[in-house]
């Protein structure tokens, strides 16, 4: 979809005015209402489904596998599959890189440690179920999906459960493969829920910039007219890396002023707490039946 000149000018003028107003009448810090739930895929350790009112939907699954390795950098594998988009496009690859980098940065790898020799290896598969049909001819880059993906991954990780290890933890000397309890009732969460050993997987925020206005969670219409985008990672109550600039639109992009980078970080700091709380509430809801999801 290409917006008409008058249309994009209207949206742009509303955004950059002294009292910014967004096309769907949100506040600059306000998200679109999201729907999410998690733990519904029976075959994976953790899963989540999250979607926007415009139909963009993201399903993520976390699977754990036991490997014998001590190399921390390959314990987390991420694969993003966008419906109708090839795996080797820059969009796909870059989303994967950013999610992987952000997780590697923030993950507490002790949670994955099984024994002295064995680790859990995580496979995070993400599937975007809907790409706007006219994406190829439109003037936005769809990088805004990153924020949805990141929330999906957060929920999936939060809901992931690992089976209980029954063999000995110290197997440095022994030649023995780890064995697990058959009882799924005694499984524990991948990310512990108690306050001492818990940690937050990274969340990636997409901030859109037009003029001097910074907005969170840009919709596709807004993405058309945004001059610049910044992706900011948030984990464990502070801003972390990677932080990067992203072109959200192909029609209206401009260079970014340094002070706006700072401003977009302020915005993230402002909303991050609420987002984390909302996500945690969802992840702590128990699902009784798998059917109720759809």
């Amino acid at each position: 979809m290409v917006l008409s000149v008058a249309e994009s000018a209207f949206i742009y003028d509303s955004l950059v005015s002294s009292h910014p107003s967004r096309p769907d009448s949100r506040k600059p810090t306000q998200y679109r209402p999201l729907k999410a739930n998690c733990g519904f895929l029976p075959n994976s350790n953790g899963s989540s489904r999250i979607y926007n009112p415009d139909g963009t939907e993201c399903i993520s699954s976390v699977k754990a596998k036991v490997i014998r390795s001590n190399n921390i950098s390959d314990l987390i594998n991420v694969e993003i599959n966008i419906f109708g988009e090839k795996d080797n496009t820059t969009l796909c690859q870059h989303l994967t890189t950013l999610i992987k980098e952000s997780l590697n940065d923030s993950f507490d790898f002790n949670a994955l440690k099984l024994t002295d020799k064995y680790y859990f290896q995580l496979y995070i598969d993400i599937s975007i179920l809907y790409l706007p049909e006219d994406f190829r001819y439109s003037s936005y880059t769809f990088y805004s999906i990153l924020s949805l993906i990141s929330m999906g991954v957060y929920l999936a990780l939060k809901s992931a459960k690992l089976p209980l290890l029954v063999s000995d933890k110290k197997d440095f000397e022994v030649e023995e493969e780890p064995t697990f309890s058959d009882d799924w009732e005694v499984s524990s969460y991948l990310i512990p829920r108690d306050s001492i050993s818990t940690f937050q997987p990274a969340l990636v925020f997409i901030v859109g910039i037009a003029g001097n206005t910074v907005i969170i969670d840009p919709s596709l219409e807004e993405e058309h007219v945004l001059e610049h985008g910044v992706c900011v990672t948030w984990s464990n109550s502070k801003i972390t890396t990677p932080i990067q600039s992203l072109a959200l639109s192909t029609s209206n992009n401009k260079a970014i002023k340094p002070n706006l980078v700072i401003k977009s970080m302020d915005l993230v700091e402002q909303v991050a707490g609420d987002v984390i709380n909302a996500l945690n509430t969802i992840s702590e809801q128990e699902i009784d039946e798998f059917d109720v999801v759809f």
């Binding site: 005015s17 769907d24 009448s25 506040k27 306000q30 209402p33 979607y51 909302a278």
Partner: protein
């Protein structure tokens, strides 16, 4: 006002009761066997007693009916091919589907978006099966209605309308494949400016005589029959008269309010006015200066439209204005984003209509 709301999705059919599964399974199984064993009994479903049909349902055994859209003909019986309402016009029998994409009909007032330019025509996206066609000869050319189109116009078609532009037009004729030919040969049609676009399901739009309305708050709306809507700042008074001439009810109101003593007869001046109006101005891309107030009203109307479409309430101008009035009670425009408020606007609206009867 919270920044983010994440809720778990609720299934729409959750209220449907679970009946005992075992019995159901068995009887379904029996039915299946019966179906294999003997030819299903052809039940006559009279047009008189049922007007809602599902695909494959027998509508009539009478071969004298003419078969229209949404039906098919097999062994001298007419069956429905869609889920919808049966409609009869003389001897023509057709089924209008409840849902589905927009199907253009001659005379529909619609909003479309230009998606391509080819030989002497624009391709216009209407949300229908096929893109509509707008011929170069079917637009008001800059410089007056009496001008003939020239080669020069053909060369600079992109200066008139280009890809992405929204326009307001009427279906001139439809072709057998479902595509439509459009025209904008009236001053109420043409390129759209000064506003915001919104797409709703086309089946929600109530077909009325007039689809361009002035709403309270200095805002106008075009409710395209194809579900494409355009909310914009009401044009200033001079142009307003032309709009007014198009709608009788509005013109009476305007006539009463206009200080210049406007009368309906003055609407016939439009030939001379055409020449003034249809300069290049009408194809300009520049928005007028729009105050923050108007912008807020526009986005409030937009939120109301979204709420109506969210609650799947058929949209006409009366309901929209009512929804707008209700929404004012919910305070800030920002709050209308939340789903609960959308739902309660819908409920309030239905309640108020029930009260009025």
């Amino acid at each position: 006002m919270s920044i983010i709301s994440i809720t778990t999705p609720v299934s729409k059919n959750s209220e449907i009761e679970n009946f005992s599964k075992d019995d159901e399974d068995e009887s379904m199984y029996d039915d299946a066997i019966d179906g294999v064993l003997k030819k299903p009994e052809k039940k006559y479903i009279g047009i008189d007693n049922r007007s809602i049909v599902t695909p494959g349902e027998l509508i009539t055994e009478d071969a004298t009916w003419m078969r229209g859209h949404g039906t098919y003909y097999l062994d001298e019986h007419t069956y429905s091919s869609v889920a919808g309402m049966i409609s009869k016009v003389n001897k023509l029998l057709s089924v209008t589907p409840f849902k589905g994409r927009y199907r253009p009909e001659t005379g529909d007032h619609i909003v479309g978006r230009v998606i391509g330019i080819s030989n002497k025509r624009w391709k216009v996206e209407l949300g229908a099966e096929h893109a509509g066609v707008l011929m170069l000869g079917a637009v008001n050319l800059p410089g007056g209605v009496l001008r003939r189109k020239s080669d020069n116009d053909e060369l600079q078609m992109r200066a008139i309308l280009k890809e992405g532009d929204l326009l307001n037009c009427e279906v001139q004729s439809t072709f057998s494949d479902g595509s439509a030919s459009l025209h904008t040969r009236s001053l109420k049609y043409g390129k759209l400016r000064n506003g915001m676009f919104l797409k709703v399901n086309s089946s929600l739009i109530v077909r009325t005589k007039n689809h361009m309305h002035d709403l309270p708050g200095g805002v106008s709306i075009i409710l395209g029959v194809n579900g494409y809507c355009w909310i914009f700042k009401t044009k200033n008074n001079v142009e307003n008269k032309i709009n007014a001439a198009t709608g009788k009810a509005e013109s009476e109101m305007k006539a009463a309010s206009s200080s210049k003593g406007y009368s309906v007869g003055m609407g016939s001046l439009s030939i001379t006015r055409l020449e003034e109006e249809s300069s290049w101005e009408i194809y300009s891309d520049k928005n007028d200066i729009i105050s923050a107030n108007i912008k807020e009203t526009i986005s409030r109307y937009r939120s109301c439209l979204v709420a109506l479409s969210f609650c799947e309430i058929a949209i006409d101008v009366k309901r929209l204005v009512k929804a707008y009035e209700i929404s004012l009670g919910y305070g800030d425009v920002n709050s209308l984003v939340s789903e609960d408020i959308k739902k309660s606007i819908g409920e309030d609206l239905i309640n108020s209509e029930k009260m009025r009867g």
